[in-house]
């Protein structure tokens, strides 16, 4: 990686910094200002889209640590979101926990569920682990439907509008702020985890588990840690989703979501924090594009066309990325940045 012209790292702290120059800090601050002034410019509809993107980013960060960094493929991510969502909803609606306590409890419950369903990863990997995590999803959803007294079963559970002290979070604007603050925190935490000791251990396990063990990394401990961390992120996202809609139901956590989350990682680029964000934004924007062209299609082709366009476009995009840019959008973005880093005096071709 080339350094920007005129910058020199004089100590290791500078070399390890995420934002190495004042320019980066400036761009970050401008981005944050733009992000948090969005409610001033945009309609409720766009705020809803952005809020959903924020929630999904939190969830996909977790999946990225688990799949992209630790290499433990999970297809039960929506199930773990459901654990977080339901726990938080029950604590808030039935046991009148305050919102600020119910949300972390939901996250923790999802993490513990992750630890439990992560146990098979100690013995199996790859395809078999995928099957085990798919089973985890259906076991969780089945348990939620069976525990009728607690969860409302198939009828769902309505949750009062969230509030922290006197601040009502029910409005779209306030909830947008809540989600964005948490999404920024999740991004920071996810990035810090993967660039420090635990993150290197995860990558070591992903790239070469035998060598990792010889180098002193306890496989079972770090695989379970990856499941725990990944599912805590999922739990936060699930809780935010349930409280946003003010209703908890198993329909909010369909199995296909787990698949699309993996798809988002493929499109964005597995194993990079930026990739998780890029992937979520790309596929969510594709969804919006589909809602725009869907009606046109159904008018032009057939009434049923619109419904299948969404799912087909997702599948198509994922296949295109797997073939033409398997390292994802974020890799492309890094290449573009590297090009302009030396531009126009590049000596590389």
């Amino acid at each position: 990686m080339a350094l920007y012209s005129g910058t020199f790292h004089e100590n290791y702290a500078q070399d390890m910094a995420v934002f190495p120059t004042k320019l980066h800090w400036g761009l970050l601050i401008i981005f944050l200002i733009l992000l948090f002034t969005c409610p001033l410019f945009f309609s409720d509809r766009i705020l809803t889209i952005l809020t959903m993107i924020g929630i999904t980013i939190i969830s996909v960060h977790g999946l990225n640590i688990l799949v992209g960094y630790c290499g433990q493929i999970s297809m039960g991510h929506a199930g773990f979101m459901a654990v977080g969502g339901y726990t938080s909803a029950i604590l808030y609606a039935k046991l009148s926990f305050p919102f600020w306590a119910a949300l972390p409890c939901g996250a923790l419950a999802a993490g513990i569920a992750g630890l439990f369903f992560g146990l098979p990863s100690l013995k199996i990997k790859g395809f078999y682990l995928i099957m085990a995590t798919i089973a985890a999803h259906f076991i969780i959803i089945w348990a939620i439907i069976q525990l009728y007294g607690l969860t409302g079963g198939a009828d769902g559970l309505s949750v009062p509008r969230p509030r922290i002290g006197a601040i009502m979070l029910g409005t779209k604007t306030n909830y947008f702020y809540l989600v964005m603050v948490l999404a920024c925190l999740a991004t920071l935490i996810a990035h810090n985890i993967v660039r420090t000791r635990a993150g290197r251990a995860f990558i070591a396990i992903r790239d070469n588990d035998l060598a990792a063990e010889v180098m002193g990394i306890s496989l079972w401990s770090y695989k379970l840690q990856a499941f725990f961390i990944g599912c805590v992120f999922a739990g936060v996202a699930g809780a935010l989703l349930v409280h946003y809609i003010s209703f908890a139901s198993t329909d909010q956590f369909p199995f296909m979501d787990s698949v699309w989350y993996l798809g988002m990682l493929i499109v964005g680029g597995m194993g990079s924090t930026g990739g998780a964000i890029f992937g979520v934004v790309a596929l969510k924007l594709l969804d919006e594009l589909v809602t725009v062209i869907g009606p046109i299609l159904s008018a032009a082709v057939a009434p049923q066309a619109a419904a299948s366009v969404a799912i087909m476009s997702h599948g198509l995009i994922i296949i295109i990325f797997l073939i033409f840019e398997p390292r994802g959008l974020y890799h492309r973005w890094e290449m573009i940045k590297n090009y302009f880093r030396l531009w126009p005096f590049s000596h590389q071709e």
Partner: protein
Amino acid sequence: MEKDKNVKLRIENISLSFGGVNALIDVSMEIRDNEILAIIGPNGAGKTALLNCINGFYKPQKGEIYYKGQKITRMRPDKLAKLGIARAFQNIELYAGLTTQDNIMAARHVLMRQNFVAGALYLGWALKEEIAHRQIAEEIIDFLEIAPIRKTHVGVLPYGMQKRVELGRALALEPNLLLLDEPMAGMNLEEKEDIARFILDIYEGQGATYSNTPILRDGIRSIVLVEHDMGVVMDIADRIIVLDFGRKIAEGTPAEIKSNPKVISAYLGEEE
């Protein structure tokens, strides 16, 4: 016993078999302080299997292994790394998705204390710890002369460089016992000479040159070298053990091994 004092690792009568194949048959040996021990033998003699037993990959069916007097025969590999046994592999087993620098940092794992919560917050002591270990990683990078590839992903490095990064990763564990499985396989003469010099430098220690990095300053006083290049082995090993078809057939100084009729027949075949 006086002799026992400087024994770092003792292997007592280990046997290892896979189904009907006997990889190791009743092998006993010791690795002492202050020596470079070479293990040689024809292909399939059981050299790598022996290292795998020391490493905890294979559990021998019979026999015991003691490290500094402690029984380690059925310990997990990661526990052994914490005890101070490091290894560089024959076939490169680096973390392809990490840079040279991060491969070496990843090996600092056992010597770092932070958990993922401290790492996630990245405040105060976690940051300090990262910097302290980065400093040592940089000294190792400097010692092995791989500074130009510090930020290169190891997957794209040429073979010789990958071998060198592997050596660096083993060093970063700060081991008491270093196992090198064919560190010069597939190298040309110049690269072999480089690696031989590194091994001797690691063994001897660099003293004041790297005064802040204990592992480079004091050296590693027990090195096991599995190698096919007889020239190298005869030049740098203090003691040689010869394996053939899973059995130890000879042990001694390079001069003794050179004239041992069993060794000659193992390598060249019986005279008619």
